[in-house]
Amino acid sequence: MRPVRLPRRWLLASLAVLLAAVLLGLTVGPAGLPLRGVLTEIVDLVPGVDLAGGLDDRQAAVLWQLRAPRVVLGLLVGAMLAIAGAGYQGVFRNPLADPYLLGVAAGAGLGATFAIVSGGSRLLLPLAAFTGGVLGVAATYALGRGVGGRSTNSLILAGVAVAAFLTAVQTFVNQRNTDSLREVYGWILGRLLTAGWGEVLTVLPYVAVSAAVLLAHRRLLDVLSVGPDEAGTLGVPAARVRLVVVLAATLGTAAAVSVSGLIGFVGIVVPHIVRMLAGSSYRIVLPLAALVGATFLVVADLVARTVVSPGELPVGVVTAFVGAPFFTLVLRSARRTW
């Protein structure tokens, strides 16, 4: 195998765009905070710098307790969904694989629906969604193995069947509880709305572990891309790599989904865009997808909370609405096969 390195120019460019997106995310919003005050507050964070006269108490609370955690959550969820998508596409060697395959989303959606209609504490919603997502994948895995043995296609088909079944159950539950329909619907469309630092802290450990495991497997995913049998002759245990990557990607996705709802399109679009622009080695795709995914979701959420300000749009609507045409454009101009 020819050693592949992540081109520095792509890394620096991605980081620069990400930084710009974060700054934009912090300075723009429906509260209309003064730009100068926000910048003063941000510079004030630098150790050793102590600036006075940034924002008043209420404005500071808006910036640091509402806007900042939302930007950070966007970073984490966007990076997680994109890197998990790339991981799934690698192990299944299937360009259509994404975090919502394999019953993760449908399971999490059903779990969240149960939590909402049961009218219990809202604190249970992430746990219920997480449990549902993991159970969904477990069902897919058991079904896929039982039917098709080692073929990845059978696993994906099992995911489709499990998702259809879980969605039917969810629809039934919704029909029986029309009074909570709006809340379930809002969650399914995805939102970073109620984000405080609590949600950030909830997902951070899962995202960190999951992303670290996926990044550690970037070389093995390259080997796997030549095919499981060839990988075997190169001394790579394909089945074990596949299991570890799927587990890590699922864990991270379920954690992200549990706080943000179902934000579609990030996991499938971002890795493909990275591939078309910078190359298809997983040593390039995984780190860049994390950075680009983070940028994408921070910007999408910025749009979601400003375009109908002071109202909100579900961020999942924005990711699809903006992402789909952009994806098509890149696809047409790149003309590179997967």
């Binding site: 429906p30 209309g32 108490d57 806007r67 009218g119 109620t194 002071p310 109202g311």
Partner: protein, 318 residues
């Protein structure tokens, strides 16, 4: 009897004129006190009323009413037609004697409805061709759409009075409501400083604007809605951005997602950044009954009483 009949028909016949489709004028038939024979309510049949789904003719006094609208159920009982209600939908939880069933007004099952042998069905919308399906089996249906203003409530009460033969009771109730509301509104000090509110529908910050029925009640009570800045948002039910809400700094938070909604005042006070809101700092987080606050029946008076109490209490400390 002979005198009442043409009166009703004439009054209802003007719906092709300048009257609105919601039947703004037609209830004058029901509320017209010119019929001196008060005991002769039954004389009003057959009666035609103008509804959201067009004119509906009721030929005889209904004795088997199915109500698929919680608001209509409350109205029917309030005007003394409760005895004729044989089945009410799953949300009809008031009054206690309402014959609640698992019928649904959102996903109506016509077979299940017809199973109660109704001679009149009342609903608040017409999903899945409910009205025409019932017409196929000869059951008249009246759609009383969600009220936009308090006058719609009066209109619907009078229309229900007309179709159930409770014209006098309905007129009396409407008069009583108007008297009560006038008395309540008089309690708000004319020189009260402006006060803002946020009405929470669910924890995702869905709310109402003054363009809604409930928003109009708040406006009557002298409240200013922070959500009115939302540009024509979501048909009067926008979802607010948390940072906008904290910046808007409402004087009072009314929340309708307590109880089964699972939200308590402490949850609201503990939300990130909300400790900067005047309502939280001054402990003005008020739970409202989601049933009363989402229906447009006789209990709007109770709701108005609550928000006016809060308004006067706030005015006294301002």
């Amino acid at each position: 009897m002979a005198a009442a009949l043409p009166l009703v028909l004439v009054a209802c016949g003007d719906d092709d004129g300048d009257a609105t489709a919601s039947g703004g004028d037609s209830p004058s038939a029901a509320s017209d006190p010119s019929d001196p024979s008060e005991g002769g309510d039954e004389a009003a049949f057959p009666v035609t009323i103008d509804t959201a789904n067009g004119p509906v003719e009721i030929t005889e006094q209904p004795e088997q009413i199915v109500s698929l609208s919680a608001t209509a159920t409350e109205m029917l009982f309030a005007i003394g037609a409760g005895d004729s209600v044989v089945a009410a939908d799953s949300y009809s939880n008031y009054p206690a004697e309402a014959p609640t069933t698992d019928l649904s007004g959102f996903e109506p099952n016509v077979e299940a409805i017809v199973g109660y042998a109704p001679d009149l069905v009342i609903a608040s919308s017409d999903p899945g061709d409910l009205v025409s399906s019932l017409a196929e089996v000869g059951v008249p249906a009246v759609i009383l759409a969600p009220a936009v203003t308090i006058d719609d409530t009066y209109t619907q009460l009078e229309q229900l009075g007309a179709v159930t033969g409770q014209v006098g009771d309905a007129a009396e109730l409407v008069g009583q409501m108007q008297t009560d509301i006038d008395a309540l509104l008089a309690q708000v000090p004319a020189d009260a400083a402006p006060a803002t509110y946020y009405h929470e529908l669910d924890p995702n910050l869905f709310t109402v604007t003054s363009a809604t029925f409930i928003g109009e009640l708040y406006a009557m009570a002298g409240w200013t809605n922070i959500a009115d800045e939302a540009p024509d948002a979501a048909g009067g039910y926008p979802q607010l951005s948390p940072e906008f809400l904290v910046t808007a700094n409402p004087d009072v938070v009314f929340f309708a997602d307590g109880g089964a909604g699972g939200v308590v005042a402490e949850d609201i006070a503990a939300r990130p950044g909300w400790d900067q809101i005047a309502a939280v700092q001054q402990d003005r987080i008020v739970e409202v009954d989601p049933d009363i606050a989402s229906r447009w029946g006789p209990r709007v008076v109770d709701f108005l009483r609550l928000v006016i109490e809060e308004r006067t209490a706030l005015a006294s400390v301002q």
